[in-house]
């Protein structure tokens, strides 16, 4: 499974780590990851340190997560993107919707 989830040390954040290609094939797994992440999650972190690639359907999945996590009130950070991944996020101006670091 290319998607792993864990809680942050303080237990407030759900960290979703994606390995390899973040594209349509991970759709269900990504969705399961946040839907089964527990009801007491305050923040979400999408850790892309091991993600090699991200396509437009992955952007769509991030939007779904944002919607699930409360839309405009969602607190979602996207972390450790490689240059290619960051470029795609930048072109789409996703920093307006997510904290990218």
């Amino acid at each position: 499974m290319p998607i792993h989830t864990r809680r942050s040390h303080d237990g407030q954040a759900l960290i979703i780590r994606i390995e390899g290609r973040f594209d349509f094939s991970t759709h269900q797994a990504f969705r399961d990851a946040y839907e089964h992440g527990g009801t007491d999650v305050r923040n979400y972190v999408v850790d892309l340190s091991d993600a090699t690639y991200l396509d437009s359907s992955a952007l769509g999945m991030l939007l779904l997560l944002r919607d699930y996590a409360g839309g405009d009130n969602a607190s979602i950070a996207i972390e450790n993107c490689n240059n290619d991944v960051r470029k795609i996020l930048t072109i789409s101006n996703f920093e307006q919707l997510f904290t990218i670091r």
Binding site: S57, L59, G60, L63, L64, I91, S92, F94, L97
Partner: protein, 575 residues
Amino acid sequence: MDEPAVESGPLKILIADDSDSDRLILKTLLRRLGHLVLDAANGEEAVALFRSGAPDLVLLDAMMPAMDGLEAAQEIKRLAGERMVPVIFISSLSEAEDLARCLEAGGDGFLSKPYNRVMIKAKINAFNRMRLMHQALSDQRDLMHERNRQLLEEQYVARRVFDNVAHTGCLDAPNIRYHASPLSVFSGDVLFASPRPAGGMLVFTGDFTGHGLPAAIGAMPVAETFYGMASKGFDGSDILQEINQKLVRILPKDMFCCGTMLEADFTLSQLKVWNGGLPDGWLVRASGEGFSLPSRHLPLGILNADEFNADMEIIRTLPGDRLILMTDGVLECSSEEGQPFGEQGVRRAVESAASGQHPFDALMNAIQGFTGRQKFGDDLTLCCLEMVDQEGLSALPEGTAPSTLAGPTEWKCVYEIRERTLGEFSPLPLLLHICMEVPGLRRKSGEIYTLLSELYNNALEHGVLELPSEWKYTPEGFGRYYSERTARLSMVSGHYIRFSFHHEPKQWGGRLRVVCEDSGQGFDFENHPVLQATEMAQSGPRYAGRGLVLLKRLAESIRFHEQGSRVDIIYDWYF
């Protein structure tokens, strides 16, 4: 009947045995099991009965006169074709080699003599299960073939409908070059271009997440909105707002549309650009210099109307400047080694274009050279718009088909916008719409729109906002003009612009009188060079020379009152 029929009802079973007694025993046995029996005394008869009776299952004696069981089995299997008809050999043979030959001839199994009722029943049931499974599989396969054929046909028809809605507009204009996906598929890319009623053009390139029907369904309202609004005179920004709002409403959360809107004004030599999520556009100056125009916005269909920013970047241009738009299919197309073309590839191609080479050709050649292919993937869209003189484009077709309904010919109306609305709303599409209701006047939409927009822009920018037009004609002043325009639009309290229309029918056509009044200070029309001289002078304190020249050329008469803050125009049109 002492036996219930087998699992799936009676079967039609063909038996062939040259021994009359054995055949009778088998026939009776099978009938008791509830099956229909066709019986043959040799291979030839068996094949003939197979042809005429189409049995579900065949029991063959291996050794018979006049074509033995092996030959008959081969022939039967050939006749059955794709249909699965189990052939079971009944034999007293027990040598492995003999049995193997039976299987090679097409046999599916064996039954040994003498007959055993329990074994026969079990064997027939087993082979029948196999037959049914095979049948189910081929039915499913046929169904899939059929569904797929239907799907392709539906896509083809849908594509025809889509192409009618999302027709290519004015993409064939001499100043546009483009490469778009072939017509047979929905790639998720769209490319539209439309002339504006008063001259100029709008071009939109979009890339929907996903492919196929969902993307096409999203593209339909975008096409309708784009062409509908463009022909009514709305500007790029208005259209973007509307498209975004529509997509937010209809698309699922994870679908959106990356896009670039381009608004070209050939008279003012300026381009407006909005890029949300597409790769950098490129402005290639006539001199060869290139500038990238990066995406500054989120794609369409994500943000709600109150968060969405449709402000377009304004660029001053010269004739011969070209703007290149592309979808990410351009960056993603790959070499034989699997390397993507990327932004590097685009930059290199644009910057190293030979002098005199069209940047569109330079880019297409670079992609072909890089990929080693003449044809590219489905979702690669590339479009290049060249800034030209408006005159060269006068032959463009009208965007939309005229309505055949009768409409008003004798009417008056007054429309006034006031206060804050001056900064938030352009009344031009609405006013044009009112005039276009007059039967026959639609053909003149370009001229009417020009009249109205000149009147309105002069009233707003020079009357209400008191912006000096000569600013626009220097590079430094250009930026200042537009930033000042935005700033002053927020301070329009107490101001208004009022349009009064009067249309009356004439035997030869009609006369439209338009009076445009504003709350500004007016201008010294008595000493304005354009109004004084018979020669067309350059510019004046309030009216830019060009605007006034246009008004004078289009209108039957033009008169100024109230220190120039009231303009009275008579426009005659002919059938």
